[in-house]
Amino acid sequence: MSVSIALLGAMAVLYACGVYLLLDKSVTRIIIGVLLIGNATNLLLLSLAGPPGAPPIAGSGTSSDPLPQALILTAIVITFAVSAFLMALVYRSWRLAQEDRVERDAADVAIGQGDAPEPEEASADEESEFDRPGAEQ
């Protein structure tokens, strides 16, 4: 099976950027990371469909493989639904706390800190990308 080097390169770049963004604490970046990784996987499936240029309909010699395309369509729909949900989630998080960072689990922090749990410490070590207005809206 021959693979287009351009598709392969694009896939590698998308995976790399996607994983990098996914590891961020900001949910907005995580969403972009999810989208990139989703598209990288679609490219992976596309490159399994064989070389480009084959006719889509069977009966005229070698036709292109329809199954990976069906898989990609399903995957696109699923990624779409999940990103819509994640965006709703980040909006809700913004409305509630005026920030879009993923905090550490409070009970984990308490166990990790031993005898004197200090609630303030968990969120103080990194600054938010947004300005934090003091008052709740």
């Binding site: 099976m1 996914l22 949910v27 995580i30 999810v34 990784i37 989703g38 996987t41 992976l44 499936l45 399994l48 199954l67 990976p68 898989l71 399903t74 995957a75 699923i78 639904a81 999940v82 949900f85 994640l86 989630l89 809700r92 998080s93 509630l96 706390a97 993923v102 905090e103 689990d105 409070a106 009970a107 984990d108 922090v109 308490a110 166990i111 800190q113 031993g114 749990p117 200090e118 609630p119």
Partner: protein, 516 residues
């Protein structure tokens, strides 16, 4: 009989649509949801009866000939898990009706979307159990995951959004890996039909086989919460509302275990990765139970014991023998029921006492002896005290392990025994501190809880309310179901043994699906 197979997915989807249309009328919604799940439970029992003699029901969807179209397959394992899941989903539904899915700060929870989403989740779980091709399994996983995203964040409070984000991102990574694995399997074998993959995978170079095998196992391992891929579970499950946590704990990880079982028995029946599975199983058991000992919150403690007991299931799969597989199947059924029951009981404690943090609890036995029974029976069952089904399942696993003649398996058997003992400690501590300790002594503290740390962010609301009858009935029903598994353990274990023997003989599955 074959015509019943797609109904287990179609009915919940239609029910969800109906419940969504009836969103302004809670009573109608509940009726639709209850009727749908009861119908699926009935179909599940009929399917068990149909396949109990070793037959398989194969349904090519849309009339496409088998290797080309989507195929739904029901064998003994699928039918059993389908029925148990339907029973658990029904019981939790009754519980949630009684609870009104509102406790503490959730009084504004959008009730109208709860039942439709719950039915979609059910459809996803059932679809995963009867999927005959890898991509349909992926779709089943996605259906249940997307609805679980909604359920885990229902109410949209701050801790839930935080926990939900972790859960969603981890699930997305696992799904992407699974999708890439499906693509790679298709590229290597030219099919996504599980029976055909099983036939063709033997001819692949060993390196390619291991690559595909590891990709699938990693994706499923995240879903099943196998150490070291289990960190997300105790982080996210306890924050959800009680019925959601209960149903997630009972079913979602087991769908992952089911996928691992299928991978190990049908797709890659070779023993190459069995030692890896055994090591991972041992670590999962030990790390899970040690985590449970450090928790002050009952729900968090139960989440860690959940992770720990996934280790037992993986151990059964990793043994790679018919006896091991049979014990894993029996233990899966037992664990679905018992873990769900314990989380429902935790929900009852939360409703009765206003909190699930054991340092604040006391005098529960005097306040509600029934609650004591509902906690103690499943707790002893989970801890593996004879004569309960937990003991029988563990005994089966240990016997299957002891039959193997190598040091690694013996070590894992030893860890399993140790874990069983350690599991009792946090469970009995909850009993001693929350049920036996007089309520007046709560302020003094207890030597048993000296080393525990409460969640500093959790509001110390102590909002005691009486228990709603459906909540108690549902939990009592689940406790009885757990006892029923113990009473009818003989026939059930026989059924699991038959299922395990068939699974280990993978050409049976291939012949059954491809009709040769």
């Amino acid at each position: 009989m074959t015509a019943l197979v797609p109904l287990v997915v179609i009915l919940p989807i239609l029910g969800a649509a109906g419940a969504l249309v009836a969103s302004g009328r809670p009573r109608l919604q509940r009726t639709i949801a209850a009727v749908t799940l009861t119908a699926v439970l009935g179909i599940g029992i009929a399917l068990i009866a149909a396949v109990a003699d070793g037959g398989m029901l194969v349904m090519p969807v849309g009339g496409w000939p088998v290797p080309f179209g989507i195929v739904l397959v029901v064998d003994r394992l699928s039918a059993l898990l389908l029925t148990v899941s339907a029973a658990v989903l029904l019981a939790v539904l009754v519980f949630s009706i009684g609870q009104g899915i509102a406790d503490g700060d959730d009084r504004e929870a959008p009730v109208s979307i709860f039942y439709p989403t719950y039915l979609v989740l059910a459809a996803g779980v059932f679809d995963a159990f009867i999927a005959g091709d890898l991509f349909n399994l992926y779709v089943g996983f996605e259906i249940l995951l997307v609805s679980s995203y909604v359920l885990i964040t229902v109410g949209g409070t701050e801790p839930r959004i935080r926990a939900g984000t972790t859960y969603i991102v981890v699930s997305l990574v696992s799904s992407t890996l699974f999708l890439a694995a499906v693509g790679a399997v298709y590229a290597a074998t030219g099919t996504v039909n599980m029976a055909q993959i099983a036939e063709r995978v033997q001819a692949l170079p060993p390196g390619v086989q291991v690559l595909l095998h590891v990709m699938l196992l990693t994706a499923f391992g995240i879903k099943a919460a196998v150490f070291p891929l289990s960190f997300w579970l105790p982080d996210s499950y306890p924050t959800a509302i009680a019925p959601v946590t209960a149903v997630f704990a009972g079913l979602l990880t087991k769908v992952g275990v089911y996928a691992i079982l299928r991978t190990e028995t049908t797709l890659f029946p070779g023993p190459e990765l069995n030692p890896v599975l055994l090591v991972v199983a041992g670590l999962t058991m030990l790390v899970g139970v040690l985590g449970a000992i450090a928790q002050a919150d009952i729900k968090r403690m139960l989440s860690f014991t959940l992770v720990s007991h996934i280790g037992y299931l993986i151990m059964g799969v990793g043994l790679g023998t018919a006896a091991g597989t049979a014990a894993a199947i029996f233990y899966t059924v037992h664990h679905i029921v018992v873990q769900t029951t314990l989380f429902l009981t935790a929900g009852l404690i939360e409703r009765r006492a206003g909190t699930t943090t054991i340092t604040r609890l006391g005098g529960l036995l005097a306040a509600s002896p029934l609650l004591g029974v509902l906690y103690l029976v499943p707790a002893l069952n989970l801890g593996g005290i004879p004569p309960f089904s937990g003991f029988l399942g563990k005994l089966g696993l240990l016997e299957a392990g002891a039959a193997a003649n190598d040091p690694l398996t013996y070590a894992v058997v030893g860890i399993a025994v140790l874990t069983s003992l350690l599991t009792l400690y946090p469970l009995v501590r909850v009993w001693n501190v929350s049920f036996w300790r007089p309520a007046a002594q709560v302020a003094e503290g207890s030597r048993l809880t000296d080393e525990l740390h409460e969640d500093p962010f959790r509001p110390a609301t102590v909002d005691t309310r009486s228990l709603a009858a459906p909540m108690v009935l549902a939990t009592a029903g689940m406790v009885l179901l757990g006892v029923g598994i113990t009473v009818f353990a003989g026939p059930l274990y026989q059924y699991a043994s038959d299922a395990g023997a068939t699974l280990q003989d993978w050409p049976v599955y291939v012949r059954g699906v491809l009709g040769r």
